[in-house]
């Protein structure tokens, strides 16, 4: 019905005018993880982990150790007071092992291979200096890779997502259930922890696909059938839910028939990201901006891409980047409509209210705004076309650029051409001075 918005070839605001193709992987690249300011790691179905320099695109290390595809990757930086910062990464693979790598030397530090099932997610709890692995069960490990405790076998499907919550709690998405675990210091050992299941939340109708922590008070989950639930992070109660992004109440022009015909894939919440005010959801082909205070979708781009959006990220400059199975990456900007009829509601306004009291106000505000047209809209600022297959993920490196990884086995570094040109000039003159070519030879 509504075709994908296109921007054309003239993209004044698109800063990425240079690209660097990083080749190395032999299969789908699924994960990118930042190590420090200028390094990142990539991993995918070929079981190899590459470390790259984000500035030069230089391949730093090629880490071999896994025999199957990588299923999870997490940076594990230690900031031991005494030593200099040590950059480690954890990788989990379908070969039922987890390997710790040293990013400085490119060596394998340690390997754990006592898992009964594939580890599907890894989370590091920096505060407690432990890390968790989630698969068929949940295991808690310390830095030395000692297994501190583990839960009993949960399901065959296992934990698909983990998120850290306040008060030593973690939320694990297991199928359609959301299980809250709490880490309790064990009585005997000084360093031991026990993991207890605290609560099971079964509000979702379908598998939970995405799980994101907004702030200390809130976390959000999204499911395969397009339900988005906002939870209180402290007492794990449902604060709000949105389960019909495609609903005619929000988008009156959508016909019910069309809704039915839509496959669940097109409504599944693939990925969630958030800032303080809003949750950004990649739902099917579209992107939705859900305002936590107003408890409603304030802006959306129903068909942001030609096919499913796989990853979205919020940039500091009010921009939003999304990547999709169609192989494109798009840059969006959340803009306020200029012709706002009512007095603009300052964003700080709602923050002054507590949650309980804000409800009424918010309703009023929502009503008021429903009278007007949506206040915000997502404007397409630019798109990056380079991959020939689904773009799995991307990593924003600030001014260094943007790294995207894809099913076409490639990683592309997108860079600001102007900046790169300037840097090259700088290097050039440095090298000239170094070679002594700057001296006049008359």
């Amino acid at each position: 019905k509504s075709s994908v918005q296109t921007i054309g070839e003239e993209q004044i605001q698109n800063p990425y005018t240079e690209l660097l193709v990083l080749k190395g992987h032999q299969d789908i690249v699924r994960f990118l993880v930042q190590i420090d300011d200028c390094r990142f790691a990539s991993a995918g179905d070929d079981g190899i982990i590459f470390l790259w320099n984000a500035q030069t695109g230089e391949k730093l290390f090629e880490l071999h150790g896994h025999t199957h595809k990588i299923t999870a990757i997490a940076p594990f930086s230690s900031s031991d007071a005494s030593e200099e910062k040590k950059h480690l990464i954890l990788t989990a693979s379908a070969d039922r092992t987890v390997i710790v790598w040293d990013c400085t030397s490119g060596r394998q530090v340690q390997k754990v291979s006592c898992f009964h099932s594939t580890v599907k997610c890894l989370t590091v709890l920096q505060r407690l200096d432990v890390w968790l692995s989630g698969g068929g069960d949940l295991c808690v490990w310390n830095r030395k890779l000692d297994l501190l405790c583990k839960t009993s076998h949960l399901t065959d499907a296992g934990i698909s997502a983990l998120v850290e919550l306040p008060k030593n709690c973690v939320a694990a998405a297991v199928g359609r259930e959301l299980i809250i675990f709490r880490l309790v210091a064990s009585n005997e050992g000084s360093e031991g922890w026990n993991v207890l299941e605290v609560k099971r939340l079964v509000d979702h109708q379908d598998n939970i696909l995405s799980l994101v922590s907004v702030n200390d008070l809130t976390f959000v989950t999204g499911s395969h059938v397009g339900e988005l639930i906002v939870w209180d992070a402290l007492d794990w109660t449902k604060q709000a839910s949105e389960c019909n992004f495609w609903d005619s109440s929000v988008h009156p022009d959508v016909q019910p028939e069309i809704k039915l015909s839509e496959s669940p894939n097109e409504t599944s919440v693939q990925h969630l990201t958030s800032d303080e005010e809003c949750v950004f959801a990649a739902v099917g082909k579209g992107i939705y901006v859900y305002n936590l205070q107003m408890k409603r979708v304030i802006a959306c781009q129903r068909t942001a891409h030609d096919s499913s959006v796989l990853h979205i990220e919020r940039l500091p400059n009010r921009q939003l980047i999304s990547c999709s199975e169609d192989g494109s990456v798009r840059i969006w900007e959340l803009r306020e409509k200029q012709q706002l009829p009512a007095e603009p509601v300052p964003t700080g306004f709602f923050n002054m209210w507590g949650f309980g009291r804000a409800n009424k106000q918010a309703n009023q505000a929502a009503k008021k705004m429903q009278e007007n047209t949506p206040v915000y809209f997502l404007e397409l600022v630019g798109d990056l076309i380079g991959h020939s297959s689904a773009v799995q993920m991307f990593l924003y490196f600030g001014e260094l650029g943007l790294a995207t990884c894809s099913a076409d086995h490639l990683i592309i570094l997108w860079k600001d051409g102007e900046r790169e040109s300037r840097l090259r000039s700088l290097t050039l003159f440095q090298k000239l001075a170094q070679n002594g070519d700057l001296q006049l030879k008359f």
Partner: protein, 935 residues
């Protein structure tokens, strides 16, 4: 390519001109009077002289021990080439001036026959009767059945153009040395094989004889030996001796590299396609000469199994046996290599000398532009390494490299080296003295400088004497003994230290005058580069009497030249010029009798009577060391010398009077003498690329130029298409027919800047869908349009990546690409251009692109255009300054700026790229709208 399009008068298209380009004839009244000889089918460059062959060729002849000098083969192998030219006669001539000391046999004091590893000799011969001039390269090959185990051969490059031979002497010598080295390597291999077979034969014979003797011994119980038995015993003894001799020979031939490697002037031949790596690897490794021997031995070790046969006591009569052919003398692989090399030489040096020189000059100048030259120059050209690296120790190939080498050396060793070269240059001349020299070679040359000099010069005299007696109408124009690579300037620099050459020179001169023979040895420099400058300057005059310059004076006159840095040498030069021109006038004496009398006023100005300036381009030599910085900080007088004749840049010219004498020679002699310099043009005026690597691309250039010309005339949207290429946007030529697409790609490829010193980013034909990686790699792609489902994918990918590419549809004649409003491309590709020839247009494009390169260079390397002057300066003002520079200083408009910016990016990338790291090709692009152009 720096050469101006004007030069192209000397070039000719090989392919047929299109009907399109033939213009209606001019009305009668406008037509220029034709060249007087035009009616005879001649052209202004035609040779008037009486050479009997139509084009340059290479002749290989042998001094057969059975039939005397005989021609073996010519390259090109075509009877037409030599025409009525008497090869037999000429073979006799060239074989008669062999200075090689091919001395093999039992030297006194050695028990066994000794192989001598003789250096090749290099001579320039002129036969004025035949109108033939030749560079002659003598070499000896080993043959077990030959007398003294050696067979003298020579390879000669024969041309009607004396100047070509003289001016290209260094190059010819270098190239022929390679060929000779290759041939000799193969010969050594074959010789070793032959020896091994012979040894096996002998061994077998010995066993048989031994057995027979034993049987006889047993049968004989009388206590005394029968004559038969004694005969057998003698036979056995002689076989034993023969075995020892052959073993010794084998050892000698195998030890060849080991012995040679110790010597600085040895240059091993490296086959282009390395036959076996370990061998060449060892050859290259000069320092570990110990390793070289097993390597070489290994080369000889691959002997096919051989069944020995009995050798009869008496060998066949000398004249009964059939001597091996050249092909049999040499390992087949090396033989074909040699022939290839000779064909290359022929291809390189045929054509006009003017073209050769211009090409060499522009090439040498381009080499210096090492920051920008990769952009539009031939990739093959950039891959050429200084020959020094390829053929270590090979002399005179690269003045540049040698110069650098010598400038690195401290003055003291310089002297030593030049003396060494001096000596080695002479070393193989005297036949009897060789042993001595070999001995004196071993210690470093630090001993008695003057003595050695004297000695050498004596040799020189002997040398010349020898040549005098060798024939009648042959002029030996110059010889070169292969020697260590030293430039003239080097030997010059060393000369002040050694005071002796003056007397030596005069001695040579006086000797020469004795000859009343008609043979003229115009130069017998051991190596052009080795000859001390004063010697060289005076050799022409040495032919005749020197009535006006006595030895002392000569020494005085020539001394200032020896100092290259002399600031006030200008006056000296004018004096010298005077003097030298007189000399050269004298040297022509034989040809033009009116110059027999010294005419000191002639040739002051570079004009002849007609007022026509006649200065053929001079061979480019190394510029002064100061110019070699990567920025080539130009001397103040470069304005004058900016043209094709870098006299000022030419240190050789500055210091050496030889060039002057040569040009004045042209000036003074009547017009025929100069016209003859273009002699070979008449036969074959195809521009001959001066370097081997370029050979293939020369044809391509022409074709590309022709196609490009056609393209800009046919397509009104040629400008935006070329702009796309110049600004680094990949241009895709889409079409169904491969031939058409490839033609277009070839045409457009001349506009594609290289991204590095690797292959040109052009892909002629692709059938699979394109990826983003392809746009990184290729800047010009020919793409197949298919109707099949696969074709849909191709087109889909194309539309997907449309922002990175411009698409030229060859079938529907449309172009989809960004707008171009600049002015640069219109100069590059004017559809109303008067240029008709492909190669001319190619040169035109190259000259404009070179301009563009220099703009990009300026832009890239202006510090303040890219970086703030002070730390507080905001980025915007730098950007403003940059744009102002591009617009005002460089005079660029609109999209032209992007071209220069792109080229500047390439320059930066090339400069900052670490050699160790592989290049990370990056793709730069703009988000600009495209437009569809139609015819």
């Amino acid at each position: 390519m720096i050469s101006a399009p004007d030069v192209v008068a000397f070039t000719r298209e090989e392919e047929l001109e299109d009907e399109l380009y033939s213009e209606p004839p001019l009305p009668e009244e406008y037509s220029v009077p034709l060249f007087p000889f035009a009616s005879h089918g001649a052209n202004p460059w035609a040779k008037v002289a009486s050479s009997k062959f139509t084009r340059d060729f290479i002749l290989i002849s042998e001094f057969s021990e059975q039939v005397g000098p005989q021609p073996l083969l010519t390259i090109p192998d075509d009877a037409k080439v030599s025409g009525t030219f008497d090869l037999n006669y000429f073979s006799l001539r060239i074989m008669s001036v062999d200075y090689q000391a091919s001395f093999v046999g039992h030297p006194p004091g050695s028990a066994y026959p000794k192989l001598n590893f003789v250096e090749d000799s290099k001579v320039v011969l002129g036969d004025s009767k035949e109108g033939a001039f030749a560079y002659v390269h003598h070499l000896t090959l080993y043959d077990l059945e030959a007398r003294g185990f050696v067979r003298p051969f020579c390879m000669a490059y024969i041309s009607a153009d004396e100047h070509k031979i003289m001016q290209q002497f260094q190059e010819l010598s270098a190239e022929f040395s390679k060929a000779s080295e290759c041939l000799k390597t193969g010969n050594r291999k074959a010789f070793a094989n032959e020896l091994e077979k012979k040894l096996k034969d002998l061994d077998y014979t010995r066993t048989v004889l031994h057995n027979e003797t034993e049987i006889q011994k047993k049968a004989n119980d009388k206590g005394y030996y029968t004559t038969q038995a004694i005969e057998k015993a003698n036979e056995l003894a002689s076989v034993e001796k023969s075995i020892i001799e052959h073993q010794d020979l084998l050892k000698q031939i195998r030890s060849y590299p080991y012995r040679k490697l110790k010597r600085s002037d040895f240059h091993p031949y490296e086959p282009e396609r390395a036959l076996d790596q370990d061998n060449t690897g060892c050859d290259q490794d000069l320092t570990t000469s110990d390793l070289a021997e097993p390597g070489e031995t290994q080369l000889y070790a691959h002997v096919p199994s051989y069944t020995p046969k009995l050798i009869k006591a008496k060998s066949a009569k000398c004249f009964d046996k059939k001597l091996k052919t050249l092909e049999e003398l040499c390992d087949i692989y090396f033989f074909t290599q040699t022939l290839d090399q000779l064909h290359q030489i022929e291809r390189t040096f045929r054509g006009d000398v003017c073209y050769l020189l211009t090409d060499q000059i522009s090439r040498a100048l381009l080499k210096q532009q090492n920051v920008t030259n990769f952009l539009f120059e031939d990739v093959s050209f950039l891959h050429e390494k200084p020959p020094e690296k390829q053929y270590r120790g090979c002399q005179g190939l690269s003045q540049d490299a040698v110069h650098r080498k010598c400038s690195e050396e401290s003055p003291a060793p310089k002297v030593v080296i030049s003396l060494g070269s001096y000596k080695s240059s002479v070393e193989c001349v005297p036949i009897k003295m060789e042993q001595e020299i070999e001995d004196s070679q071993e210690p470093k040359m630090t001993e008695s400088i003057t003595f050695e000099h004297q000695e050498n010069l004596d040799y020189l005299d002997a040398d010349i004497k020898g040549s005098i007696s060798s024939g009648e109408s042959i002029e030996v124009l110059g010889t070169e003994k292969s020697a260590s690579g030293l430039t003239k300037s080097e030997s010059q620099a060393s000369l002040p230290v050694s005071p002796s050459p003056q007397p030596g020179r005069s001695k040579v001169g006086s000797r020469r005058t004795v000859s009343e023979d008609s043979i003229e040895v115009l130069s017998t420099c051991p190596s052009e580069s080795l000859i001390p400058e004063d010697f060289k300057a005076s050799y022409p005059s040495a032919i005749n009497e020197e009535p006006y310059v006595d030895d002392e004076e000569g020494g005085l006159h020539f001394t200032p030249k020896l100092n290259p840095d002399n600031a006030d040498e200008q006056e000296d030069i004018s004096k010298q010029e005077n003097l030298v021109q007189v000399d050269s006038a004298c040297c022509i004496g034989k040809e033009s009798p009116n110059f027999l009398e010294p005419l000191p006023d002639l040739g002051q100005k570079p004009c002849d009577e007609d007022g026509v300036v006649r200065i053929p381009p001079q061979p480019y030599r190394q510029v002064e060391p100061g110019l070699r910085g990567s920025f080539g900080s130009f001397p103040s007088h470069d304005g004058i010398s900016g043209g094709l004749l870098p006299y000022e840049l030419d240190s050789r010219y500055l210091t050496g009077s030889r060039e002057v004498s040569k040009s004045s020679l042209d000036e003074c002699s009547d017009s025929t003498s100069y016209i003859s310099s273009a002699a070979s043009t008449c036969s074959d005026r195809t521009p001959s690329p001066a370097h081997l690597a370029c050979q293939a691309s020369e044809r391509h250039k022409k074709k590309a130029g022709q196609n490009a010309l056609r393209f800009i005339r046919q397509y009104p949207f040629a400008h935006p298409a070329i702009y796309s290429l110049l600004s680094g946007r990949t241009l895709i030529v889409l079409g169904e027919e491969e031939a058409i697409v490839k033609k277009l790609v070839t045409a457009l490829s001349i506009f594609v800047p290289n991204c590095g010193i690797y292959a040109k980013p052009v892909k002629h034909w692709v059938t699979s869908p394109l990826h983003v990686v392809d746009f990184q790699k290729w800047k010009l792609i020919g793409l197949q349009r298919m109707v099949s489902p696969a074709g849909v994918n191709v087109l889909h990918a194309l539309s997907r990546y449309s922002r990175y590419v411009s698409i030229l549809d060859a079938d529907s004649k449309t172009l989809r690409c960004p707008l171009y409003k600049g002015s640069l491309v219109s100069r590059l590709a004017d559809h109303r251009t008067q240029i008709k020839r492909g190669s001319t247009y190619y040169m035109h494009v190259q000259s404009i692109l070179t301009q563009l390169c220099s703009k990009a260079f300026l832009f890239t390397f202006c510090h303040h255009l890219h970086l703030p002057i002070s730390e507080r300066e905001p980025e915007e003002s730098v950007v403003n300054r940059r744009m102002n520079f591009l617009k005002l200083q460089l005079g660029l408009a609109n999209e032209d700026i992007k071209i220069v910016q792109y080229l500047a990016e390439l320059l930066k990338l090339q400069y900052i790229q670490e050699p160790s790291q592989g290049v990370n090709p990056l793709l730069r692009f703009d988000y600009v709208p495209s437009f569809l152009y139609k015819i």
